[in-house]
Symmetry: C2
Subunit: 660 residues, 2 copies
C-alpha cells in the first residue's frame, strides 16, 4: 500500500472512528452511513470541494449538502477535521446532548458549514437543486469571476425513493444543472432491510431518463472515486449522479453491510472489533497529529482560490451590488411605499391575487434579486411580471421559474436558493397544495429561510372547483407551525403591505394567502399606510358604545364591515379588526393587544375556514364564524350563503348572543 | 368510414358535446381533457371495462379512476351514457352548481361509479395502485372465481410530474401489478403551456426503469387504441403505461391543442365551430336515441359476466367470509375486549408504540382483512406481527407491505385499498412525516376512508433526533382537519381502546399518535374499560374541593397525574382528564362535557406540542402548557425539563395563577 493510500485510509478512518465513538457515547445515532461514505467524503473534501473553513460564508464556496442527514456525524467529523471553528472535539463528544451544536441531524442555524438542515429525506437533494439554480443565475448575472462553484450532495436510498426526488431531479435535468453532483450512497440497505424488500427500480436508468449523466464507482476505491468525480466535474451540460457502491458501516466487521448498523450504536464489542479491522488503535476521540495535519492541509486547499476571488471582487464593478445581494440587504427604494400609498387614493375592487400581481409589478423591477415562479399555475397565482423573464438553460439570468406540477420540489428549491444567498425566492400554488409542500414549508421555518409563498385560491371563495381545492384547515394549520408569518390581506393596500413585510423578513418565511375572487378596497385615504405590520389593527371604530369587536381576515374583512354596519343600525357599536397576521399581532405589547381586543366587548371571529384555534382571540364567551367541514362545489356566493358566511346569517346570531 | 367507425365517433362525440356544453353552462370547468380523451375512454368503456351500471358495488367490477380529476365531465358523461342511475341529464346540466352530484372534481361520496375523489394531482393513480394491490391480495385469498378484475387509470401530465407518481409507480413496479393499466393522456400541455416549459424527461424510459411495461397509441385512432389496450391486457407480469398521444380539446378547431382549452369554457363561438368540426348538429344536452342506445348497450356488456359471478359466489365456500369482508363488517370476536380488559390487571410500563404492537398481536389474527405496513420504519412503528407475512409478488396473500421510504405513496395506497373494499389498511411512519403524507390523509378524510395511521415518535419524547423529527404543530394541525379521529393514548389500555375505536370506524380515518418512550400504565383494575370512546374522561377525581382540571394527552397524562398529586398535597383538589381524542369528546352531549370540564375550575392543558387551539377547552382564563417553538436534540428527559414540561415547572405556575 502506498503512502498516499495509507494517508487516505487514515483520514477516512478518522471519520469512522469519530462517528462510531460519538454515536456510542450518545448511545443514539446513525454510524452506518458516515462509516460507509467516509472514503468518498474524504476524497471529496480533501481533493475536490472548494471551501475555506476560516471563511464559511465565502460567497463562491462550493455548497455541500448531506441530504442523508441522519449521517450527521459525517459532516461534524469533516467540519472538525478540516478546521472549522466549530464543532470542537468537546462538541462532538456531546453529540446529541442538550446544547451541543452536534444535533441528531445537521442544523444550518447551529453550525457554519452546514448549508442546510437535513433529515427529512429527499429534501437535502431538492435544496441542492435550488442552490445549483441560484449559482447559475448569479453566474449569469455577475460572471465567472464572482460566481463559479459546484453543489455537491450526498444522498441515500431514502432520498432517492421519496417522491420529492422525482420533482427535484426533473427540475435539475430540465435546467441542465451541470454543476450539480449527487453522490448516491448505494449501500443497498434501508431501515427495514435490503432495498429489494420495497424497491426494484433501475435508478441509473431513471436518472438518465430525466436528463442526468450517471456514473458509478466503487465507493471504497480511491482511484475509482477520483475517476468518477473527474467524470462528474467534466460533465457540464447535465447534472451528474455518481452511484457510489458502498458497504454500510464499512469497518464494522460483524454488523457492517446490514441494516443493524444504520441507526444504532455499534456496541463496545463491535467497536473494538472495528478498531482492529481498521487498524485504528487510538483512543476514542483521539486523532493523531499527522492525520489531523493531513486533514487541516485539506482545509487549507482553497485558501489561495479564496484570496484570488477576494481580489477579483475588490476589482469588480459589481462589487457593491453583489455584496448587497449576498448580504440580503434590501435597496432603500425597494419598499416602494410611496407608490403603494397612492393606492389609498385610487380604490379598486380586485382579487388579492391580482393585487399581489400589481404589487409584484412594482417590486420586481426594483429588486433584481427577486426570482419568482409557480407550480404550473402562473395565470392563476398571478406571479409573473414583465420584469421576470423565464429562467431557461439558455438564459439562467431569467427571473421566473416554470416549476411544473411540483409543489414540494418548488418549495424545497426556494429553500435552496434562500440558503445559497443572493436571491429572494417567491413561488405560487393554490393554498390547498400547501399540503403537498408542507414538508418544505416546515424546513423554511426551521431553517429560517425568508422565502415567500404566494398561496392563492385561499377559501371556498374559489367556488366551483369544490372540496378537493377548498382550503378549510390550512390557514390555522399553518399558523400552528412555529416561525412562519401567515398573512391574509383583505384588499389591494393590505396586499402591498404584506409584500413589504415579507420582503423585510430575514429569518422566517411568509405565506401570503390570496383570494381568487374580487374584493372591495377596505382601506382608503386618508387612512394610514403600513397597518399590517401590527398584525391586527382597528379598521373601523364603533360608532357609539362598543358592544362587539368583529375580527376577520382576507375576504371576510369586508363581510365584517357589512356586519358592523348592520349592528350599528341596530344600535350596537362594533369595531372591525383586520387580523391580517396573528403571528405579528402576538408580538405586539400587551397594551396594544388590550386596546385592539378589549376585554369588555363580545369578540367575534369570521374566517372562511375552520374555527379551530380562534378561541385564542375570542375566548370561551366569543363567537366564531367559519367552516368546520369540507367545502362544496358551487359558485362562490352560493357557498358563502350555504356556510352561513353572510351578514344576514351572522348578525342575528350576534344580537341573539348579546341578548341571551 | 365504416358503420363501426361512425358509431364509435358518435359515441365519443357525445362525451365531447356533453363536456363542452356542461362547462359552458357552468361557465367554469375543464373541457380540454374530456374532449381529448373521449376516444380512448369510449373504447375502454365500450369494449374493455368490466362494469354493471345497475350494480355499481359489484365486488368484481373493474376499477376505473380518473386521476386527472379536473376532467370530471369525462366520467360524468360516461356514467350517464352507460346507464348509471346518476348523474341524470339534469345533474349534468347543473354541473358545478350547489346540490348537483356533478361537482367540479369527481367525489366518490356523491356518485356511484366514481371510485375515488380526484383532483389533487397524482393521487388518483396512487390510489389505483392500492386498488390493484387489494385486488391481487383478495384474489390470492379467495381465488379467480370471486376476484379477478383490472384497475384502469386515466392520468395526465400533472399526475406524472407530481412526486407521488414516483412513489406510486415504484410500488406498482415492485409488486408486479400486471392488472393495473394507466392510460396517460399525453397531450403535451400543462396549464402554463407546453410541457416543455417545465419538463424534459423521457417518461416511457422512466416507467420502464421502474418495472413497467410501456406502449403507445394514437389516442384518436380506435384501431391503434385497441391494439395498445390488448397489449396492456396481455401483459400480466408488469403494470402497463399506455402513452395515449392526444390533442387536448380535440374537436375545438381553434383552441384545441392549446393550454387555452384546459381550464376554461370554450365560449359560444368555439362551441359552434366545434359542433361543425365534429359533425354534431344536436342541441346542447341532447343525445340522439341511436347514440344513447349504443352507449346503453356498452353498459349492458358485462351483465352476463356479473350474473355468472353471482352464481359462483352463491356456490362458493368463501361466500360468507368474502361478503363479510367486502361489507366492512367486523367479526364479533374482533373487538377482543375480553383480552384487553385483562390488561387492566397486569399493569406494564411500555411505550405506546409497543402497546400498539401488543394490540396488533391480538387483533391481526382475529381480523384477516387487516393489512399492515410501514414506510420503512417497521421496527420503530411496531406495525408488524406474526400474523402478517410480507406481501410480495410471490405471495400476494401476505398481509404486510414494506412500503419503502414512501409516506405519501403509502397513504394513497391505503386509501385505494379502503376504496376497493375488503381490506382494513393500517400503516406507520413517524408523526412528523404526516407532513409528507398530508395530501393523502386529507383525501382519507374527504373520501370517508376508514384507514388507520400508526404515527409513532409523537413528540419531543423521541429525544435525540432533534427538531427535524419532533412534531410540534402536528397533532393540532391534524385535529384542525375535518373528519379525522386524532387519538393519542396514554398507556397500554388506552392504546387498545384506540385500536378498537379505529377498527369500528366506517366513514373516517384514524390517526393513532404513539410514544417512542416508555409510559406508565395509568389505568388499572378495577377501572372501566372502553373509556376512550368518550374522547375525554376523568381519570382521577379531585380529593377535596375541585380547584383545577388538568387535561392531557398521551405521554403527558402521567405528568398530569404527578402534577395533580402535588397539587393535592398543597390542598388543591385536582381532576385529571385524559383528552385522548378531542373529536370524539366534541361529539358528547353538553351534560357530559360540562361534567368533565366544569366551568367553576381552572382548566389546564398539558401536551408536548403547540398550545395553539387548546383555548377551546381551557378558555381565556385557563393555562396551556406546551411547546410553541421547534424542538431540540437531546435525551428526552432533558427536553421535557428544558421545555418546562415537568411537575416541578408546572405546579408552581398553577398555584401562582390560582393565587394571583
Amino acid at each position: 500500500m502506498s503512502d498516499e493510500q495509507t494517508s487516505f485510509s487514515d483520514m477516512a478512518n478518522a471519520i469512522r472512528a469519530l462517528s462510531m465513538d460519538a454515536v456510542q457515547a450518545a448511545n443514539s445515532g446513525h454510524p452506518g452511513m458516515p462509516m460507509g461514505m467516509a472514503d468518498v467524503a474524504t476524497i471529496l473534501w480533501s481533493e475536490y470541494l472548494k471551501f475555506d473553513p476560516a471563511a464559511p460564508d465565502w460567497a463562491d464556496r462550493d455548497r455541500f449538502v448531506l441530504s442523508a442527514g441522519h449521517g450527521s456525524m459525517l459532516i461534524y467529523s469533516l467540519l472538525h477535521l478540516t478546521g472549522y471553528a466549530a464543532p470542537t472535539l468537546e462538541d462532538i463528544k456531546n453529540f446529541r446532548q442538550l446544547g451541543s451544536p452536534c444535533a441528531g441531524h445537521p442544523e444550518n442555524f447551529l453550525l457554519d458549514g452546514v448549508e442546510a438542515t437535513t433529515g427529512p429525506l429527499g429534501q437535502g437533494l431538492a435544496m441542492g437543486v435550488g442552490m445549483a439554480m441560484a449559482e447559475r443565475h448569479l453566474n449569469a448575472t455577475f460572471g465567472d469571476d464572482l460566481v463559479d462553484h459546484r453543489t455537491w450532495v450526498i444522498a441515500g436510498d431514502g432520498c432517492l425513493m421519496e417522491g420529492i426526488n422525482h420533482e427535484a431531479i426533473g427540475l435539475a435535468g430540465h435546467h441542465q444543472l451541470g454543476r450539480l453532483i449527487v453522490l448516491w450512497d448505494d449501500n443497498n440497505i434501508t431501515i427495514d432491510g435490503a432495498v429489494g424488500l420495497s424497491s426494484s427500480e433501475d435508478i441509473p436508468a431513471r436518472y438518465r431518463a430525466t436528463g442526468w449523466h450517471v456514473t458509478r464507482c466503487d465507493g471504497h476505491d480511491p482511484a475509482d472515486i477520483r475517476r468518477a468525480l473527474d467524470e462528474a466535474v467534466a460533465e457540464t451540460g447535465k447534472p451528474t449522479l455518481v452511484q457510489c457502491t458502498t458497504v454500510i458501516g464499512k469497518g464494522a466487521p460483524n454488523k457492517g453491510g446490514t441494516s443493524g448498523v444504520h441507526g444504532s450504536p455499534l456496541g463496545e464489542d463491535e467497536i473494538a472489533a472495528a478498531r482492529k479491522e481498521l487498524g485504528w488503535s487510538h483512543d476514542p476521540f483521539v486523532i493523531p497529529d499527522d492525520i489531523m495535519a493531513a486533514w487541516r492541509a485539506a482545509g487549507e486547499r482553497s485558501k489561495e482560490a479564496h484570496c484570488e476571488w477576494t481580489g477579483r471582487l475588490g476589482a469588480s464593478p459589481h462589487k457593491a451590488e453583489f455584496s448587497r445581494r449576498m448580504s440580503g440587504e434590501l435597496r432603500d427604494e425597494a419598499k416602494a411605499t410611496k407608490i403603494f400609498r397612492k393606492w389609498l387614493e385610487e380604490p379598486q375592487k380586485v382579487a388579492t391575487r391580482k393585487a399581489s400581481e400589481m404589487a409584484l409589478d412594482v417590486l420586481t423591477p426594483l429588486l433584481p434579486e427577486m426570482i419568482g415562479g409557480s407550480a404550473d399555475l402562473t395565470g392563476s397565482n398571478n406571479t409573473k411580471t414583465a420584469a421576470t423573464a423565464p429562467v431557461t438553460p439558455d438564459n439562467y439570468g431569467g427571473r421566473y421559474v416554470y416549476y411544473g406540477i411540483r409543489e414540494f420540489g418548488m418549495a424545497a428549491a426556494m429553500n435552496g436558493m434562500a440558503l445559497h444567498g443572493g436571491i429572494i425566492a417567491y413561488g405560487g400554488t393554490f393554498l390547498i397544495f400547501t399540503d403537498y409542500a408542507r414538508g418544505a414549508i416546515r424546513l423554511s421555518a426551521l431553517q429560517q429561510c425568508p422565502v415567500i409563498y404566494v398561496m392563492t385560491h385561499d377559501s371556498i371563495g374559489l367556488g366551483e372547483d369544490g372540496p378537493t381545492h377548498q382550503p378549510i384547515e390550512h390557514l390555522q394549520s399553518l399558523r400552528a407551525m412555529p416561525n412562519v408569518l401567515v398573512m391574509r390581506p383583505a384588499d389591494r393596500i393590505e396586499t402591498a403591505e404584506c409584500w413589504q413585510i415579507a420582503l423585510q423578513q430575514t429569518d422566517r418565511p411568509s405565506i401570503i394567502a390570496l383570494s381568487r375572487q374580487g374584493l372591495p378596497q377596505v382601506r382608503n385615504a386618508p387612512d394610514e399606510f403600513d397597518m399590517c405590520s401590527f398584525g391586527a389593527y382597528r379598521l373601523k371604530r364603533a360608532g357609539g358604545k362598543r358592544g362587539v369587536v368583529l375580527m376577520a381576515t382576507g375576504s371576510e374583512v369586508s363581510l365584517a364591515l357589512e356586519c358592523a354596519a348592520e349592528l350599528e343600525k341596530q344600535g350596537i357599536g362594533a369595531d372591525v379588526v383586520s387580523m391580517v397576521c396573528t403571528e405579528l399581532f402576538d408580538e405586539q405589547d400587551a397594551a396594544y393587544k388590550a386596546d385592539i381586543l378589549p376585554s369588555d366587548a363580545l369578540k367575534v371571529s369570521i374566517e372562511a375556514g375552520t374555527t379551530f384555534g380562534w378561541e385564542r382571540y375570542t375566548g370561551t364567551d366569543g363567537l366564531n364564524f367559519g367552516i368546520d367541514r369540507f367545502g362544496a362545489s358551487a359558485p362562490a356566493p352560493a357557498l358563502f350563503e350555504k356556510f352561513g358566511l353572510t351578514a344576514d346569517a351572522i348578525v342575528p346570531k350576534i344580537t341573539k348572543h348579546l341578548n341571551g
